[in-house]
Structures are given as C-alpha cells and as structure tokens.
C-alpha cells in the first residue's frame, strides 16, 4: 500500500515537473525569439530589406505557417481542395501572413513587453504578454502546440482577436459566395496592393 502510494506520488511529481518544463520551454522560446527580433530592429546600420529577411529567418522556425494556413481555411473547405490547390493556397497565405507580420513589426517603437506566466490548456500552451504602448496596454496571446520539431505558434490573439478566426470567417464568407478561384484572386490582389 505504501509502495503504491509512493509510486503514485512519484508519477504525480514527475508529470508536474514535465508540465513546468513545457511552460518554461515555451516562455524561453518566445522571449528569446522576440529579444532577437528586437535586437535586429534596433540595428541602425542595416537596410530595411535586410532587417526583414533576418526577422523572417529567426521567426520561421517558431511559427507553424503551413498549419496556420490549414486552420484558417477550416476542415470543411480544406478537404474540398486538391493537392495543387492546397499548395497554392498555403504558399499565398504564408506570404501574406509574413508581410502583414513585418508591417505590424514596423509599427513597433520601443514599447515595453511584459511576459506573463504560460498557461497549459489541454495539450497546448498559451503565453499571455502585454505591450505597454503610449496610452494603453495591448494584450497579445501566443498559442503554441508541440510539433515534431518542438513548440510552435499556431495562432496569435491581439486584444482577444484571433488571427486564425478572423481569417477563417473571411475565407468562409468568400467561399460561400464564390469559388476557390475567387479566394486565390483576392489573396493575390491584396498582396500586391
């Protein structure tokens, strides 16, 4: 009886530390990545284009870009596409996401970032952060999951607004009225604009 109790206690302790490790890992990962990105943004001797390239290089392993494309389209729409369409959509989506990410990053002007404690929600980890801006604070929530190659961001919520959800309802609206071709056209057009 005592042995059993000890075993159970041992398992509980182990799982507890495993959980804590996961959270720690995510916190460090995000913090290091963004510290690195901010370092590059502050370098004055680099051209804007070089900065952008480097930022994307740093950020790419942390973001689950293809998964974000898939989730934004949603299961029902995704399953209707053939392989070429899927590839086409994914590459366009990622391109758009990257450019909008860079645009947002350019608005950054030395605001303080506060990292809060990560939360474990089912199998995923949510990391809440706050951006202290000139007259208010902006809440940013990074949602990560464990992929085969480590923790990756699959969604960001800015002030409670999820990138995936807003993209998804827009795509859904377009696909309800039009065809996949319309969606591709729109994605291509907004990109060049």
């Amino acid at each position: 009886m005592k042995k059993l109790f000890l075993i159970i206690l041992g398992i509980m302790l182990l799982s507890q530390t495993a959980l804590a490790n996961d959270k720690k890992e995510v916190e460090d990962l995000i913090k290091n990545t963004f510290d690195h990105v901010l370092d590059i943004l502050q370098k004055k001797d680099l051209l804007q284009e070089d900065k952008n390239c480097r930022v994307i290089e740093i950020v790419t392993p942390v973001f689950a870009f293809p998964k974000m494309a898939k989730l934004s389209l949603g299961r029902t729409h995704w399953l209707k596409l053939n392989k070429d369409q899927k590839e086409k959509f994914t590459s366009l989506f990622i391109k758009r996401l990257k450019s909008s990410f860079l645009e947002k990053l350019n608005l950054y002007s030395n605001e303080a970032i506060i990292y809060k404690d990560a939360l474990k929600i089912k199998k995923k980890i949510h990391l809440p952060t706050e951006l202290i801006s000139k007259d208010n604070k902006i809440q940013m929530l990074y949602k990560l999951y464990k992929s085969k190659s480590g923790w990756k961001i699959y969604d960001i919520e800015i002030q409670g607004v999820s990138i995936i959800s807003t993209n998804r309802s827009q795509f859904d609206q377009i696909l309800q009225k039009g065809t996949f071709k319309d969606l591709i056209n729109k994605l291509e057009n907004t990109e060049s604009a």
Binding site: K70, R75, L79, S165, Q170, A193
Partner: protein, 282 residues
Amino acid sequence: MINKIFFLSEKKNMPSNQPKFFFINTLVFINLAILFLCMISNEALAIDQINQPESDSTSIMAEEDDFDDDFDFDDEFDSSVINVPDPLSGYNRLMTKINDKLYSWIITPGARAYSFVVPEPGRLAISRSFKNIFFPVRLVNNLLQIKIKRSGVESLRFLINSTIGILGFMDPARDWLELEAYPEDFGQTLGHYGIGAGFHLVLPILGPSNLRDTIGLAPDYFLNPIHYIDSQTLEIGLESYQKLNSSSLYIGEYEALKQDSLDFYILLRDSYEQNRKMKIRD
C-alpha cells in the same frame, strides 16, 4: 473641469429636457425590439447547433487527410465562427461603407491636419484628460460588476490625476504608482451578468457594435459628465473634439486594417465581437 463633474449631482433633480426624453423613448423601443429579435435569433441558433455536428462528421468520414491530427485545433476555431448572429448583414455592410467614406474623407484628413498643428505629447495629454473626465463611466460599471478593488483603483486614479496630474493632463497614477485604469462600460456590465451580445449592429459614426452594447450606450451617456454641460453647442463640440483627438493618435491603423482584409466588414465584425468577449471575460 472638476466643476463640470459636480454639475452631475445638481442637474439630476432638474426637469428632464428634450434629449433625455428622446433617449428614454429609444430605450423602450430598443427593449421591445430586443425581445422580439432574441426570440428569432435563438431559434436560428438552435437550428444551427443541431445541424453543425452532422455536417462535420460526414466530412471527416468522407475523406482521409492529414487534417486528422488537427481535430482538436479545428474545434477550437469552429465555435468562434458560428457565434456571430448577423440577420442585418445587408444594412450592416451598407453602414460600414458609409462609415468608411466618413473616415477616409472627413475624419482621417481632419485628424491628420490636426496632428500637424498639435504635437503628439499634447494630444496624448488631452486624451488623458478626457479619460480622466470619463471616470464616472468606469467607476459605476466596475461597481455594478462588484469589482471592488478595481473601483478603488479607479477612484484613487481620479483623485491623484485630477490634482497632482493637473486635471488629468498627466497620469502620475500610472507612471509612478503603476495604477492602470480598468475600462468598463455598460455593455460589458450586461455581458458580465450573462446577457448575450445579440445580433451584430453597425452604428453610424461609432462603427461596429451589437444589440447589447448599443443598449449599453444609454446608461453610459448619463454617466458621462460631458453630457451635463449647459450649452448644447459646447457639449457637441467637446465630444467631436474628443473623437478627433483620439483618432489623431491612431492615424493609419484603420487604413492598415482595411488593406490587410479580404472582406473588411467581416474582419471588423469578428474583431469587434472577439474583442468584446475578451473584455467581458477580463
């Protein structure tokens, strides 16, 4: 400016004037409308919920795909898509277009011109001062939600910023004591007590809203000290000035959001509803 706030207590006992009657009338009308429309939207929602799981399960069975490992992801985003009832989408889209013209032809150019005249620190100070004057809205709604600590922080902020902060033009409470404001409005109070958002509604000038938050505008109107100013012209002038000043601080953000969108109306609608949900949860 503190004096203006004291008008609040004096004027409440005076006979109601035209705009107040107008507000009460619209309130009653909106109340009747909400009852009727809630009945309709509830039924529509119920039908949606019955249909949803069936269509999902067939699509899973129909095809095998690498989406399999993403099931728990998909559920996470499914609910947020279905949850915006929008029976007035036709009107809403039209109003979004009208507002858009208003922003891009009048408000944004105006705010841009204004931002050339008044430097940013000045505009930030004015924005802080307005925020300080709007204190009763935040205090009462915090109290209504029985958020005692936050009400205390708000009161302390008002005291410190009105005096040491020179009529709220500065924010020593935030800068020195790390006391952040807790913005709450009546729409959030209603949401806090479990009242659903109702359908989405785009208001003229004010932009995205929903039934609940539109109703919440009326109580907040009476909590806003600006509306107790004797002169109607000054009241409207101050209010427009506040809008101009605050939009001058966010020049380009609206345009950036618009450029980023595929369906601007849907983006605005969903962003608004998700943001409100977060604010109510908070």
